[in-house]
Each structure stands twice: as C-alpha cells, then as structure tokens.
C-alpha cells in the first residue's frame, strides 16, 4: 500500500470505484479499525440509554460504521458520494432499517430541521478539505456542510467526526468552520502520545452547556472506564498548592541561590561536588 493519502489522488467518487470499494469493504484490517472508531464515536455521542436514536452516518461507505450503529440498536441514514460503496452497502441485507442516499457532503444536508438525534462520521471529513474541481472551494463547502448539518440536528444532540488531520491548518480550518456554523465543542484526541493508536475526534454539540468528554490515554486502561473516580473530589485545597518551600541552607536552596546570582551576572563560585556539604566536626 502506498503512503499517499487517498484524498490527494482525486475526488472520492472516483477514488472509491468498484475495485477500491470492494477492497475496502473486504479488508479485515480496515474493517477492524473502522469498527473500533465507530464504537468510540457512538460512545462520544452520549445518547440517552433507553432511547432508540435516529442517526446520520456521514460518509457511510460500505457500511462498516453503520453495522456498529445497528448493533447498538439505533436506526441510521447513510450518506456517501461513492455509488459503488453504497451499492455494496445496500447488498448487505442484514439490517433492514438502514437507508442510503447518494450525496456529496460539501453540497449541504438535504434534510428538514431537527431531524436527527446524532451524527457520526468515520474518516470522511478530511475529503472536504480538498478542491477537486475548479468550482469547489473547500472553505465554502465546509461552511455549507456544517451550517446545513447544524440545522438538521436536534437541539442538545452531538455530531462526532473521526478524521486524520494532515496538519494543524487543516484541523483549524474544520474547527473554525464548525464553530462559525454555531456548534460548540472541540477535539478529543485519544492516545495522543502514541503514533499508531492516536485518533482524533471532533465532537460538536448543538446548544446547551455540555462538558467535552475526556480523551483516552494509555494509562487509563479499560478497567477504569466503567467507574467514576471520586478520590480527590472531597479534599479541599487550602493555601498555596504546588511548590514546596525550600528549606534554608539545604543543597537545593544553595543551588537556587547560586542560579539566581548567576542570572543577575554576579561573581559566584561555580558548582562543585562540595557545594552544600557539611564540614566534618573534626579535621
């Protein structure tokens, strides 16, 4: 497989042709990763437990993420710009409640106001950052997309986008257009220190004050995720926290004093192994 990003090779409706679509849908590695990311995206949607949601899957492709939504018991509508992908999706008859629409995200959402209880999008939105014909302006398309998405989402619902930002400007562009459309929220970066496991999710919320969910890190293992940590919540912090006072006359105190004096440009003895040592009582 080449290291080139697929969005650099051309428009998605041409990139995901019959061969590429069937390769994508049958590659177990891709399916595994996409499934995991869809699971996490649904977790970030934070839908009420008992509700059977009506969800939107943006860039649903061959339906890997949709299968996860179905497994969670929700009903979904999928949008994609690649017809071969949708056809593969449609052939899979396991889930009779899903529905598919051939549509370019950049030309806006074709729905009435307040239709959906949530939206997820797995590895799709970065396609919008590229112009594939002379009349396409990424900034305008992103703006139109977010604006129309905001309209068709119910109040207090969320949209979660997993994507691979190419660089900082790209995620800034996506973020700023989302904010301009009226969403609030931000990026949740899972496993930020790992190059392989790192995943970026843009969590957008409509209306209301909601707390941005916490990102996963290597330390917080799966065991911790099921429970609430109350330690530290009841302890009141009084006085100054943080730095402890350095005891006068200690090694650390001498070092700090020397450093301060050196910074001021004064003539001081250089540090040696004898600095701060106690003199022997007898010599």
């Amino acid at each position: 497989m080449s290291n080139q990003r697929p969005e650099h090779t051309g428009p998605p409706e041409l990139y995901y042709n019959e061969t590429e679509s069937s390769k994508y849908a049958s590659n177990s590695h891709i399916v595994k990763i996409q499934t995991d990311m869809a699971e996490r995206a649904i977790e970030l949607l934070a839908l009420p437990e008992d509700k059977v949601g009506y969800l939107l899957d943006l860039g649903c492709g061959s339906g890997i993420s949709g299968d996860v939504i179905t497994a969670h018991g929700h009903v979904w509508v999928g949008l994609d710009v690649s017809l071969p992908m949708l056809q593969i999706n449609k052939e899979d008859d396991e889930d009779p409640t899903k529905d598919l629409i051939l549509r370019d995200m950049g030309s806006g959402m074709p729905f009435r106001a307040g239709t959906f209880d949530g939206a997820i999008s797995i590895s799709a939105i970065q396609w919008l950052c590229h112009a594939n014909s002379s009349d396409q302006n990424p900034r305008k398309r992103l703006h139109r997309f977010f604006q129309s998405l905001y309209a068709c989402m119910g109040r207090g619902t969320r949209a979660v986008f997993q994507f691979y930002p190419e660089n900082e400007q790209q995620s800034d562009l996506i973020m700023s257009q989302a904010m301009r459309a009226g969403f609030n929220g931000g990026l949740v970066v899972d496993f930020p220190t790992s190059t392989k496991a790192k995943k970026v999710y843009l969590v957008l919320m409509t209306g209301g004050v909601q707390q941005l969910p916490k990102a996963l890190t290597e330390e917080s293992e799966a065991a911790e995720r099921g429970q609430v940590q109350n330690i530290g919540r009841r302890v009141f912090q009084t006085g100054k926290k943080g730095k402890e006072r350095i005891v006068k006359g200690s090694k650390a105190w001498i070092d700090a004093k020397r450093e301060r004096a050196q910074k001021q440009g004064r003539d001081v003895r250089e540090e040696s192994k004898y600095s701060g040592r106690k003199r022997k009582t007898k010599w």
């Binding site: 059977v52 009506y54 009903v75 449609k90 051939l102 370019d104 030309s107 074709p110 009435r112 119910g154």
Partner: protein, 127 residues
Amino acid sequence: MKLLTHNFLSSRFLKDVSTGYPLKLSIEEKRILDSALDVNFLKNVMVKIDYEVLYNVAESIGESELLPPPDAPVTVDTLNDEQLNKLHRVLVCLDVIVGTLECPESGRVFPIRDGIPNLLVNEDEIA
C-alpha cells in the same frame, strides 16, 4: 429509500428554493423488507414526522388503510397493535427501489435507482 427518509428529505439546498418540502415521490418499483417492530423507535420518530405528508404518500400507493387519518395529532400510545404494525410497515419495511423525487418548487428531479436516491447536484445549482 424508505418513506421514513422521504419524510425528512427537503430540497432546500437548491438555489431559490425556500422550503422544498415535501418532495414529490413517484414509485415505479418497491419491495417490502422483513423487520421487527420497534415501538420505542416509533415513539421517538413519530414526534418529528410530518404525519400528513406520510399519510398522503401512503394513500397514493394504496397503503393508507388502517392508518389513523391525519386530521388529528397522532401519538404512538393511543394506537392499537394493528395500526402500529401498519405504521412500521409504511415507515421502515417499505423500500422504494426505482422511482423519482421531485422538488415541489423548482421541479428538479432526483432519480432513485437500486433503492438509493441520487441527490447529487452541480455546484451552480446550490445556493
């Protein structure tokens, strides 16, 4: 495409179209899928559905019998099992395979093929 989706579709994204709702649906080929009734989902979605639009479409394809008439507001709790099943059949089980969607204002036609409506538009058609 399902009537559930049709009920939420709007062609407002087109240039000089103010509501674009409801889209005129004509059906050439349809099929009935097998799926289990989910009352919870119906409850959630019936709040948002434009029932009159749904009823009119169902009537145009001869599926409206048993459905409550659209002149009074419909709540899922007051319906009997037969009506619930019928509602579920019309909303979720019925799949339009071939047909067209037409914008009520501009007359732009969107084809439905293989059960997938094609809502692709050119950049110069959008506002």
